[in-house]
C-alpha cells in the first residue's frame, strides 16, 4: 500500500474558489480511480493561492486481475457465427470454452500498475476541472482549443510513493519539483514523497493546510488586537478569504485617524472588509475603535513596519472617500433624493422606483388607516385621513389618488413634528423616503448599506426618529433569524414594500419557478408571514391585492398617456374610469372619458392596453396564485414549529381564506383535534363516508367561492349542492326534514347530532373560536361510528339508499366547516 501525492501549481488562484476546488479535486480524482476499480483509503486535499494538492492514502501497487466471460454462439450455429465471434474476441477456436452447447470466451485481464492508472487520471482530472471561470494563455492560445485553467498552470508534482508518475498536459511535465514561498523561498524544492510534502513546504514558508492558516490568522489577529487593548470583531468569511490569499499569513495591527469615526461604523467596517479584507476592532465599551488588522503574506525584515504604514495609507484614502460620500449625501435632503427615483427603473412592467414608492406609501398609510397596523398605545390625534374613504370599496372606479409623477415632493405629507404626528402620516412619510438612499453616493458605492444609510441621513436631517428607524429597517427581516420589525411605522412600511413586490411581480407574471426566484419573492413572503405573526396583524390578502390593483391600474394609465407624445395628456389628473381602443383604417385611437387620442400606428396600444386591462379587472386568478404562494411559504415557515403541512392544505383547500393569521389559528386547533381520540376517529369516519360518496358519484363540493364562503360569513354547511354535484342532483332533505321512511335509530341519532353540530360549528367558526368548532364536530364521532356499525348504506330500497348517502354528504359538508379532511394524511 502506497501513498500518492498530487500538486497542481498555478498562478494565484482566487481565494473564493479554493474550497470548492479542493472538493472537486477529491471528487474527480476518486471517480477516475474508481473507473479502474481503485479506491484510496483516504483522500486529503489542500489549497493555497498557488497550489492545489491531494494526498491519496494506501493505494495498491496494481489493480486486481479480472476474468471476464463473454457468451458466444451455440455450438450448433453456422460456422459464420463462430468466425464472427472469434474475430470479435481475438481468440482462436481452441481457446473457447464449451458449456451446455454454447461457446464462451474467457478473457483474463491482468491487473494494471496503479502508476499507469494515475498517469492517465491526472490529465483527465485537469481537463475535466469545473472552475467557475477559466482562461487560455501563452503560445498555445493561438487556438481556442487550448487547455483552460483558472490561471496559467505552472507545474505538476505527481509522486506515487517516491516515484514520479510521468504525465504531461499542455506542455507541463510532471515531476518532483515545486517552489516555496514566492518571496521567502523563490528557488525550486524537491519533494520526496507524500509523507514529507507538508513539512518541506513549511520549511520553505508555505503553510499548505488552509485550516492551519485560518487558525494562525484567527489567533494572530486576536492577539494583535488584545495587545492594543482591543477586541477583534470576528468575521469567519474574512478568515477564510485571508487564508486563501496567503501562504505564510502574518496578521498586523494598524490604526486610522480618529476623525473618521464620525462616519457610521457600518461604513468603516464595510470599507475595511470589502475593499481591503481587514478585520476591525472594538474598544472596551464595545464601540468601533480606530484600528484594523491586515494579514500580510510575509515576515518582513522590519517586523512589518512598512507594511502597516502602507496599509494605513490605503485605508485612510478609502475612508476619506467614504467620508466624502457621507458628507456630500448629508447635504442633500432625502426628499430631494427621493425625487430622483423616477430615473431608476424598478421593473419594466412595474414602472420606476418612484412608482413603487408611490404604491408603498399609499399601502403603508392604508394599512394604518384600516387599523391593520396599530400603535401599541393609541397615539394622540390618530384618525382616518382623507384618503381612507377614497380607498374604500366603490365598485370599479379608480380611487382618487394623486398622480405619481409630478414632482414627488409635491405629494409628500408635511414633515410631522416630533411626537404629535399621527401614525398614518409617519408611515407614509417613511415610505416616501425609504428608497431615497438608493441615489446617494454612499449606497452607490456600497449597495449593501441600503436602508441603513437612509436611516442615518434621516436622523441627521431631523426626521422623526420613528421615520428614521423605519427607513433603516424596512428591508427587514432579511432571511430567517433576522430581527422582525415591531415598531408600527416600520411594520407598515416593511409590510407594504414586500406586499407590493410580491403582488406586483405576480401580476407581471414574474412568479418564482423551481429554483428561480430572481426577485427573492419567497424570502419576501416569509418576511411578511413573520411580521404578521410577530405583530399579530390581521388582514385579508384579497383586500390588499384589490387596493394595489387600483394603484397599479392608475399608474399604468399614466405611463400609457405619458408615453404618447401626440396626445400630450400627461397631466391628466382626474381619475379615469373607462377607456377603449378604436381601430380603423388609419390606425388606432385611445378613447378616454370621451376624449379621443391618436391615431397611433396599429399595434402600439396593444401592449399597453393588455397591461391596463390586466390591472383594470378584478384579479381572481391573481388572488388564487398569490394565496397559494403564501400558503406554500406558510408551510415552510410552520414546518419548524412542527405544524403539519397537510393540515395547512386541509384548511387552505376550503378556499376563500386569505387571512393568514386566522388560517393558522384554525390549523393549530385542527392539529390539536386530530391528535385526540375523537379527532382520529372522526377522521376515520369521515374518510369512510367520503369513500362511499366518491364511489356513488357524490362529488366533493367545490371550494366555496369568494371570501363569503368561509370564516367571516356563515357557511352553507348543510347544503351539499354545488356546481360539481352530478346532475340531475338527487333531491336532498333539508336540515331536520323528516325522511320518507322510518329511519334506523343510528341514522336518526346521526341526523339529530348533525342538526345540533352544524350550527354550533358554523357559529364557532364565525366567531373564530376554532376549538369550539372542533368540539362541536367531536359530538359527531359517536353517532357516526354507531351509524357505520349498524346501518347499511347500500340498502335495497333506493329511497333509503339515497337518504343515507345524502346523510353522509351532510357529514362530509359539516366536517368541511372547519377543514377539508380529505387532505389530511393518515
Amino acid at each position: 500500500m502506497t501513498d500518492f501525492l498530487l500538486e497542481l501549481r498555478s498562478e494565484e488562484i482566487p481565494a473564493r474558489m479554493q474550497d470548492k476546488a479542493r472538493d472537486d479535486l477529491a471528487r474527480l480524482f476518486a471517480a477516475e480511480l474508481a473507473k479502474s476499480g481503485l479506491h484510496a483509503h483516504a483522500i486529503v486535499t489542500f489549497a493555497t493561492p498557488r497550489r492545489l494538492a491531494l494526498i491519496a492514502r494506501d493505494l495498491p501497487e496494481a489493480t486486481a486481475a479480472v476474468s471476464e466471460e463473454t457468451k458466444g454462439p451455440k455450438t450448433s450455429a453456422p460456422p459464420q457465427a463462430l468466425e464472427g465471434f472469434l474475430r470479435k474476441t481475438g481468440l482462436t477456436r481452441e481457446q473457447l470454452v464449451e458449456r451446455d452447447g454454447v461457446f464462451f470466451a474467457v478473457i483474463d485481464k491482468p491487473g494494471r500498475a496503479t502508476a499507469d492508472v494515475l498517469a492517465e487520471a491526472i490529465p483527465a482530472v485537469i481537463r475535466a476541472f469545473p472552475w467557475p471561470k477559466s482562461m487560455r494563455w501563452g503560445e498555445a492560445s493561438l487556438t481556442t482549443e487550448s487547455l483552460r485553467w483558472v490561471r496559467p498552470l505552472q507545474g505538476i508534482v505527481a509522486l506515487f510513493g517516491e516515484d514520479v508518475v510521468p504525465c504531461e498536459i499542455a506542455g507541463v511535465v510532471s515531476g518532483a519539483a515545486t517552489v516555496g514561498h514566492r518571496f521567502h523561498h523563490p528557488g525550486v524544492i524537491t519533494i520526496g514523497s507524500a509523507s514529507d510534502y507538508v513539512e518541506k513546504l513549511h520549511a520553505c514558508h508555505v503553510v499548505v493546510d488552509q485550516d492551519e492558516r485560518r487558525s494562525i490568522i484567527a489567533l494572530g489577529a486576536t492577539m494583535a488586537a488584545r495587545k492594543a487593548g482591543l477586541e477583534l470583531v470576528r468575521d469567519e468569511g474574512l478568515l477564510t478569504e485571508n487564508a486563501g490569499l496567503t501562504e505564510w499569513p502574518v496578521p498586523l495591527l494598524g490604526r486610522f485617524d480618529e476623525a473618521f469615526l464620525a462616519v457610521p461604523p457600518e461604513v468603516i467596517q464595510l470599507t475595511a472588509r470589502v475593499n481591503q479584507k481587514y478585520f476591525v476592532c472594538r474598544d472596551s465599551d464595545g464601540k468601533l475603535a480606530n484600528a484594523f488588522v491586515c494579514t500580510a503574506n510575509i515576515d518582513a525584515v522590519d517586523g512589518g513596519a512598512k507594511i502597516v504604514e502602507g496599509n494605513q495609507k490605503v485605508l485612510a484614502a478609502r475612508l476619506s472617500d467614504a467620508k466624502f460620500f457621507y458628507e456630500t449625501d448629508l447635504k442633500v435632503p432625502l426628499e430631494e433624493q427621493a425625487a430622483k427615483l423616477d430615473r431608476i427603473v424598478f421593473h419594466e412592467k412595474l414602472g420606476t422606483v418612484a412608482d413603487k414608492v408611490e404604491r408603498v406609501a399609499k399601502l403603508a398609510r392604508w394599512l394604518v388607516e384600516e387599523g391593520i397596523v396599530k400603535s401599541p398605545s393609541p397615539l394622540v390625534g390618530e384618525g382616518r385621513g382623507p384618503l381612507a374613504s377614497a380607498s374604500g370599496k366603490g365598485e370599479g372606479d379608480v380611487p382618487s389618488l394623486t398622480p405619481p409623477h409630478p414632482s414627488a415632493t409635491a405629494s409628500l405629507p408635511p414633515s410631522p413634528t416630533r411626537g404629535e404626528g399621527n401614525l398614518a402620516d409617519l408611515a407614509e412619510r417613511a415610505a416616501r423616503l425609504a428608497k431615497a438612499d438608493l441615489v446617494t453616493g454612499m449606497v452607490g458605492e456600497f449597495p449593501e448599506l441600503q436602508g441603513l444609510m437612509g436611516g442615518y441621513y434621516a436622523e441627521r436631517q431631523g426626521e422623526d426618529p420613528r421615520v428614521a428607524s423605519a427607513i433603516r429597517d424596512h428591508y427587514k427581516p432579511v432571511g430567517q433569524g433576522d430581527d422582525v420589525p415591531t415598531d408600527p411605522v416600520t411594520v407598515a412600511v416593511s409590510l407594504a414594500d414586500k406586499l407590493d413586490s410580491i403582488i406586483g411581480f405576480f401580476g407581471a407574471d414574474e412568479k418564482p419557478t423551481g429554483s428561480k426566484d430572481p426577485y427573492a419573492l419567497r424570502r419576501s413572503a416569509l418576511a411578511v408571514l413573520s411580521i404578521q405573526s410577530s405583530n399579530k396583524l390581521r388582514f385579508q390578502l384579497s383586500e390588499v391585492i384589490e387596493f394595489l390593483r387600483r394603484i397599479y391600474h392608475f399608474q399604468e394609465f399614466h405611463r400609457a398617456l405619458e408615453a404618447d407624445p401626440i396626445a400630450s395628456v400627461a397631466n391628466v389628473t382626474k381619475p379615469i374610469r373607462k377607456f377603449k381602443i378604436d381601430r380603423s383604417i388609419d390606425g388606432e385611437r385611445l378613447v378616454v372619458d370621451g376624449n379621443t387620442f391618436g391615431p397611433f400606428t396599429a399595434g402600439t396600444l396593444k401592449n399597453l392596453s393588455d397591461r391596463i386591462h390586466f390591472w383594470g379587472a378584478p384579479l381572481s386568478s391573481l388572488d388564487g396564485d398569490v394565496l397559494s404562494f403564501f400558503a406554500d411559504r406558510l408551510k415552510v415557515q410552520q414546518r419548524e414549529a412542527g405544524v403539519r403541512h397537510d393540515l395547512i392544505d386541509a384548511v387552505f383547500a376550503l378556499g376563500g381564506e386569505d387571512d393568514l393569521v386566522r388560517l393558522l389559528a384554525r390549523v393549530h386547533a385542527l392539529q390539536a383535534f386530530v391528535g385526540t381520540e375523537d379527532g382520529a376517529n372522526l377522521l376515520a369516519g369521515y374518510k369512510r363516508a367520503a369513500n362511499i360518496l366518491k364511489k356513488e358519484g357524490f362529488a366533493q363540493p367545490a371550494p366555496l367561492p369568494g371570501r363569503e364562503g368561509l370564516g367571516v360569513g356563515r357557511p352553507e354547511a348543510t347544503d351539499a349542492r354545488s356546481p360539481s354535484e352530478p346532475t340531475p342532483a338527487p333531491s336532498l332533505p333539508g336540515r331536520g326534514e323528516a325522511a320518507t321512511y322510518d329511519a334506523a335509530p343510528a341514522e336518526a341519532a346521526l341526523l339529530a347530532a348533525l342538526d345540533a353540530a352544524e350550527p354550533a360549528a358554523a357559529d364557532a367558526v364565525a366567531h373564530e373560536d376554532f376549538e369550539a368548532a372542533m368540539a362541536a364536530l367531536a359530538t359527531l364521532r359517536a353517532p357516526i361510528d354507531a351509524f357505520f356499525e349498524t346501518v347499511i348504506v347500500n340498502d335495497a330500497d333506493p329511497a333509503k339508499r339515497l337518504a343515507r348517502l345524502v346523510l353522509l354528504a351532510r357529514v362530509r359538508t359539516a366536517v368541511h366547516t372547519v377543514a377539508d379532511f380529505s387532505k389530511i394524511e393518515g
Partner: protein
C-alpha cells in the same frame, strides 16, 4: 521611474511607444493595446498613457483620487510563461523591496463593457494598495484573443507614493531641485488642474453640447466604418466613450439610459475591431 520602466521593458523586447493624443479612460484604449491584441501576430510594447476619469475627480481633496493621472502600460502577446516573474522584476527595478513590502495577486477579473472585452487576472497589491492591473486578455471587441496577450497597467502615481514614502499624491516630488530650478511637487503641477477640471466635469460642462458631440462622434465613426477605415473609426469610438464619461459625471444619464449609451459605444468599438480584423484578413 518611467525611464527605469522603459529601460527594463525595452531590455525585455518591448517597443517603447508614446502616449496616444486623445482623452481616454484607461491605457487599454490605446490602439497599441486594443487593436494589437487582435490577430495572430506577436506584439510587445510599453508606453505611458494619461487617463481621464471624470467621475473620479475629487476637487483635489482626496490624496488618492484624480480625474487625470498616468498609467504605464505593457502588452506582451502571446503572454510569456514567466510573466509574473518579469513583472516582479520590473517592481524590483524601480526599487520595491520585497523583504519589506507585501506584494499580493488578488483576484480581479477585468471587463470593459465599452470595448466588448474581458480577461482574467489580478489587481496587484503592494501593502494593500492596488498598484497594477494584471490581465490575460481573453476577448477584445467581442473576438477571442488568439493568442492571449498579457497586459500590465501600472498606476504610476501610486507606485511613486511608495517609493517616495508620501501620503498624498500632491506631495510627490516632481523633480530634484537643481541649479535655478526649485523643487516642484505633483501638486504644484496638477492641483489647480484637478480643481478646475473637477468643477468643469461635475458642474459646468454643457450637457447639450456634449450630447451633440456624442452624436457627431457616433456619426463620424459610422462613416469611417463605411469607408473601411478602422483606425479613424476606433478614434471616434474613443471620443464617444470619453464624452459619455463626461455626461455621466454631469449626472444626466439615467440608469436605464446608461446601458443604452454603453451599448452604443460598444457597437462602435466592436465595429472598428471587426473592420480591423477584416482589413488584416483575420478570421474570427
Amino acid at each position: 521611474m518611467i525611464l527605469t520602466l522603459h529601460d527594463y521593458w525595452s531590455a525585455h523586447g518591448c517597443l517603447i511607444l508614446q502616449p496616444y493624443d486623445m482623452e481616454m479612460g484607461a491605457g487599454t484604449f490605446h490602439p497599441a493595446t486594443t487593436l494589437r491584441a487582435l490577430g495572430p501576430n506577436p506584439w510587445n510594447a510599453a508606453f505611458v498613457q494619461p487617463c481621464r476619469r471624470p467621475t473620479d475627480g475629487r476637487y483635489g481633496e482626496n490624496p488618492n483620487r484624480l480625474q487625470h493621472y498616468y498609467q504605464y502600460q505593457v502588452i506582451l502577446k502571446p503572454s510569456p510563461p514567466d510573466l509574473q516573474e518579469l513583472y516582479l522584476g520590473s517592481l524590483a527595478a524601480i526599487g520595491i523591496d520585497f523583504t519589506r513590502h507585501d506584494i499580493r495577486f488578488v483576484e480581479d477579473d477585468w471587463e470593459s463593457p465599452t470595448l466588448g472585452a474581458w480577461g482574467l487576472g489580478w489587481e496587484v497589491w503592494c501593502d494593500g494598495m492596488e498598484v497594477t492591473q494584471f490581465t490575460y486578455f481573453q476577448q477584445m471587441g467581442g473576438y477571442d484573443c488568439k493568442p492571449v496577450a498579457g497586459e500590465l497597467t501600472y498606476g504610476l502615481e501610486r507606485l511613486a507614493l511608495y517609493l517616495q514614502n508620501k501620503d498624498s499624491v500632491y506631495d510627490l516630488a516632481f523633480n530634484d531641485a537643481e541649479g535655478n530650478q526649485p523643487q516642484m511637487t505633483y501638486g504644484d503641477v496638477f492641483l489647480e488642474n484637478e480643481r478646475q477640471m473637477s468643477t468643469w466635469n461635475f458642474e459646468v460642462a454643457d450637457t447639450e453640447r456634449l450630447f451633440d458631440l456624442f452624436r457627431k462622434a457616433t456619426a463620424e465613426c459610422e462613416s469611417c466604418l463605411e469607408a473601411k477605415l478602422p483606425i479613424p473609426a476606433y478614434e471616434q469610438a474613443i471620443k464617444a466613450s470619453h464624452v459619455f464619461n463626461l455626461l455621466q459625471a454631469r449626472g444626466v444619464i439615467s440608469v436605464a439610459e446608461r446601458q443604452a449609451y454603453m451599448g452604443r459605444v460598444r457597437d462602435l468599438a466592436k465595429g472598428a475591431c471587426a473592420s480591423w480584423m477584416e482589413k488584416n484578413g483575420w478570421a474570427a
